[in-house]
């Protein structure tokens, strides 16, 4: 059964709801939402609460409840 989650943009504070299926992967969320927000081609991670999610994890294994919030965070690459 599908679940609706709220995805937050760590850079802008914007939110968007996304309907997910148990077979969707975290990587698919990152790809879709980065495209939706027209993000630069950089590295991103997603957190749920205090946990960073792995790209290959499946939604069905993550125990999402309706309207749970996750956050898309840019993984900063610079330093020079």
């Amino acid at each position: 059964m599908g679940v609706r989650v709220i995805i937050k943009n760590a850079e802008t504070g914007a939110n968007v709801a996304m309907d997910l299926e148990p077979t969707n992967s975290v990587q698919e969320i990152i790809d879709s939402i980065a495209m939706y927000w027209e993000k630069d081609a950089g590295a991103y991670v997603i957190r749920k609460g205090k946990k960073l999610l792995k790209g290959e994890q499946m939604i069905g294994d993550l125990g999402f409840a309706e309207n749970d919030e996750i956050e898309l965070i840019p993984d900063p690459e610079g330093g020079i």
């Binding site: 760590a10 850079e11 504070g13 975290v26 990587q27 990152i30 790809d31 980065a34 081609a41 950089g42 590295a43 991103y44 991670v45 957190r47 205090k50 946990k51 960073l52 792995k54 790209g55 290959e56 965070i73 840019p74 993984d75 900063p76 690459e77 610079g78 330093g79 020079i80």
Partner: protein
């Protein structure tokens, strides 16, 4: 008398092991914005044995965030690691700060084993993966810092007990590497993006990296960041997030 000892105020922090810190050998990878701040903080904190590796020269656009660089360094195209180490040693003449003008990819595992702590001050994922794997194989703690504008990140890897950088990566990271190195058949081109950078975020991230090094050198690894700390300077927030060791991580899988 109290004011004659340069580390007297540090010694008042009971958990800091000043002998341990002085005896710890640090490898700093990258002599850019983070590298300048990290080396400055290491020397002022009492680390006496530092090697700084970088293969680049100073350019004028470095000058908004690099405490050791001057206009003349950019004009003369002086090597970053040489400038930083020379000027950092002036902060504490009893410290040994050694430059290495080289690509970090030329450092093998044995070389990594000659250090106690590795601090990453890099600007690309491919170099981070090299430092990550070699620190892992050498079983040396790796403190990686990264910035992008007002965002920053610090990850502490204590191999093999904690997740490494590769454990926390996903396809977006590998796409960035692919974009940097694109092979069109005859030629391999290298795309180097210019990332936003400023000194306040750089200072915060470098300070946290060195603070983690102080904990490791003082036998306080249990107090280190678990596992990744993200910093958002615009909103004034920071948070630590847990990550899991990836069972498919090539480092953890092959070298548990």
């Amino acid at each position: 008398m109290f004011d004659q000892d340069r580390l007297e105020r540090s010694k008042r922090i009971s958990w800091l092991d000043m002998d341990g810190i002085a005896g710890t050998k640090c490898l700093v990878v990258g002599a850019g914005a983070l590298g300048n701040e990290v080396v400055k903080n290491l020397v002022l904190s009492g680390f006496k044995n530092i090697e700084l590796v970088d293969m680049d020269h100073v350019v004028r656009s470095n000058l908004n965030r690099c405490v050791f660089f001057r206009e003349g360094d950019a004009e003369q195209k002086l090597m970053k690691s040489k400038i930083v180490t020379t000027r950092a040693a002036e902060l504490d003449p009893t410290s040994t700060v050694v430059p290495s003008i080289a690509r970090i990819e030329t450092y093998d595992v044995e070389r990594f084993q000659s250090f106690d702590i590795v601090l990453g001050c890099l600007d690309n994922i491919a170099a981070r993966l090299h430092v990550n794997s070699h620190s892992f194989l050498a079983r040396r703690p790796y403190i990686d810092g990264g910035t992008n504008g007002f965002m920053g990140k610090v990850q502490v890897v204590i191999p093999p007990d904690t997740p490494c950088l590769q454990c926390t990566m996903n396809r977006t990271h590998y796409r960035v590497i692919e974009k940097r190195f694109s092979c069109t058949g005859a030629n391999v081109s290298y795309f180097e993006p210019r990332m936003p950078a400023e000194i306040t975020t750089t200072s915060v991230i470098a300070a946290i990296q060195v603070r983690e090094a102080l904990k490791l050198a003082s036998d306080k690894a249990d107090k280190c960041i678990r596992n990744v700390m993200f910093y958002d300077g615009l909103n004034g927030t920071s948070d630590q997030f847990e990550a899991d060791i990836d069972p498919d991580c090539p480092m953890h899988e092959r070298y548990p």
